[in-house]
Symmetry: C2
Amino acid sequence: MHRLAVPSLITGLVAGVVLTLAASAVVNRTSDKDGSADVAEQVDPGTPTTVILLIGDGMDDSMITAARAYALGADGRFALDGLPFTGAMTTHDLKVGPGPDYEIAYVSDSAASASAWSTGMKTVDGRLSQGPSTSADVPGEDYATVLEAFRDAGRLTGNVSTAEITDATPGAAASHINSRTCQGPDDMASCPTALRSAGGRGSIAEQLVDARVDVLLGGGSGRYTQTLEDGSGSVLAHATTTQGYRPVTTAAELDAVTDLQDGPVLGLFTPSNMTPTYLPLVATPPPGAGSATTRCQRADRGTQPDLAAMTTKAIALLDNPDGFFLQVESAMIDKQEHSLDACGAIGDVEALDAAVAVALDHQRTHPDTLVIVTGDHAQSTQIVASVRDGIQTATLQSADGDPLTLAYSTGLGVANHTGTQIRVAAVGPGASAVTGVIDQTDLFDVMLTGTGADSAGGAPPR
Amino acid sequence: MHRLAVPSLITGLVAGVVLTLAASAVVNRTSDKDGSADVAEQVDPGTPTTVILLIGDGMDDSMITAARAYALGADGRFALDGLPFTGAMTTHDLKVGPGPDYEIAYVSDSAASASAWSTGMKTVDGRLSQGPSTSADVPGEDYATVLEAFRDAGRLTGNVSTAEITDATPGAAASHINSRTCQGPDDMASCPTALRSAGGRGSIAEQLVDARVDVLLGGGSGRYTQTLEDGSGSVLAHATTTQGYRPVTTAAELDAVTDLQDGPVLGLFTPSNMTPTYLPLVATPPPGAGSATTRCQRADRGTQPDLAAMTTKAIALLDNPDGFFLQVESAMIDKQEHSLDACGAIGDVEALDAAVAVALDHQRTHPDTLVIVTGDHAQSTQIVASVRDGIQTATLQSADGDPLTLAYSTGLGVANHTGTQIRVAAVGPGASAVTGVIDQTDLFDVMLTGTGADSAGGAPPR
């Protein structure tokens, strides 16, 4: 519901002689957007000591708008809405084939997207921080990542996701492999050259451990209980013995970790992906799922910490005068969109926003922190008034109390990514660089430029 | 095609021991986005003398991305991409019903959208610069518009569109009526209280004339050849005799007008909407229209001026030391999206961008000019990699030389508006107010605040 701004103050005769327009002009002021001074104050040409990158997987403007209407109402504002500098970010990637002029793919997957900001370079679907090549099974060239550059410059690093920590987005931060499917030692069918026996870096699970990311939090313990190729033990055992990782498995155990003095932290809270905030509401063909009175139901997440709790702990553990790099992903937005699950996707935009609020709190007291909030690619969710026959929809009651209908039209049973540019927002030193139109490879520069880490990038030690 | 940035400089061994990462880090610089200083320079807290608002009807981020890929390639940049301040704009409107708490409609039409920025107030679908009410046929309260405020402050005004000039977007700038359908005296079925015989303001065509907008350019001569309700002559005759309008009907005639000394200008170049830049390519069910080698074909637009020419002329006529207000709409983007016409929509994004370039040229030499570029609501066009059965698609060869596929899924035969927030960009005094998330009603304040026009708004004289 929308209450008109003091309409009684407007003295107007529809077809009459007099309109009291001065009064109308005053009433018309629905907000004060004369923000020139604010924006000028927010321009910080300095260089960040700390960079926190928060990613909503599959979170495009349509998903933000839908989640906002559901959670806060159409005129509500998320924490992520309030960052002072905003722009649009293109997300196209490449297709495998003969190079160096690779064909452009106008719709990217999460692997190529995450690789783009992690390395500053375009690659092909399914690939993690490795360049394009003639076919999916042929590895490309390894590219150094932002996380590795920070680490090699002596700074602390963190990598948090609600997916398996070996999934595409967190994987690209600190692993280099030709296929995102090669998450654990048992999953290497598509990555023969990455096998340790072939002289490779091993699976994504192994590479994240070998990269010695200081704080790794997410799902995916099922990849870490797998046995290493040489039979010497599990990936988890490898993590604890070779890198000193402290495993944690519940929110309470994570709470109990108070510093990194006793080694890096490996929090794996579920065997595969973590549980979305809300129970599913899956879109169906007309008349569609849900109704004008449907509200999403909170899921039982057991002992799993939520994204805000993981972000809070990661920042607390990483906070130090030399700064840190932290990537935080709300992963289940995209995954639930793939499943046509309106509530699942909306809830994990809310979860991301709670994590953004945590990061912004840190930024306010640590102004040398650059916070960036964006997605990795667009998805198919559309806010609609009506749809053609056969299109799956879900209707919810918005926070305004009014019906909000979402449609999923790019796939039957599975909705797919789309290629529109997506929102990017930032605050802190260098934040104004995200205004206008950038490509996701530009984020690499925005995160590294002037940090001292940019000339010291490195790859995982072998 | 995408050429990798000097890949030969990267010395990398995929599974090997050494990665020359300093070199990689340098190569990775795909652009210089350290724009802090630039942005700071662009913050202008002053107040604009002139405001130019350029609207792409139905132009959301998806349409911009698609048109850019087609016209310039994925890494190309439109003039509209380069404005220094960018944000997201919400576009929801209201539903007719009992007030004052009107139900929110999460998907707006062009009438309510244009009314929102024209008046700073929300209204219902189909209504022009008039508030909501209990039903579509009951008029709401008239709200003063930005154009009227500028006019009543003694400044010149212009209103340009490639639709009929009586269509929703140009109509909202200077008319007040309960239904957008009431474009001419013969079209008043839905607007009984607006009839002159009922004491109303008459049709939209009449109201635009009575508002004495200094430069009116677009299509829609068919509305102006209609006879006034009292039988005294055509709307066009009314325009020339009562307001001194000079009619022009071709690009050459428009060229010949060099100033406003002899009265305001009424350019009507087609009986209804003007011709889109490109011939149609209408999406079809699988395998879809077009192919990887399809390029759009330029339409024969006869003696019609294009949008850039109309914008150039409007600015030339309106330019004066006291400033002016000019609204420019590329209207056929949305209309061709409704028709699933990929080429039509793309071409008229290009046409808008050419008009934006004209406005930016003026802004550079007249820095007291605020230029705003945005859409009015989102549409259904999606950039896809693959689609489900039954979804209509059109494939084109992009400027990169690669296949670009667009899908239209919200309607069968007719694609519909969607509710996602859309891009807004600005340059000039007060431009930074568009950053973050604003609502389209906020544009009213952005355009008026501090101009001296805001307290002098007025309605059309009767």
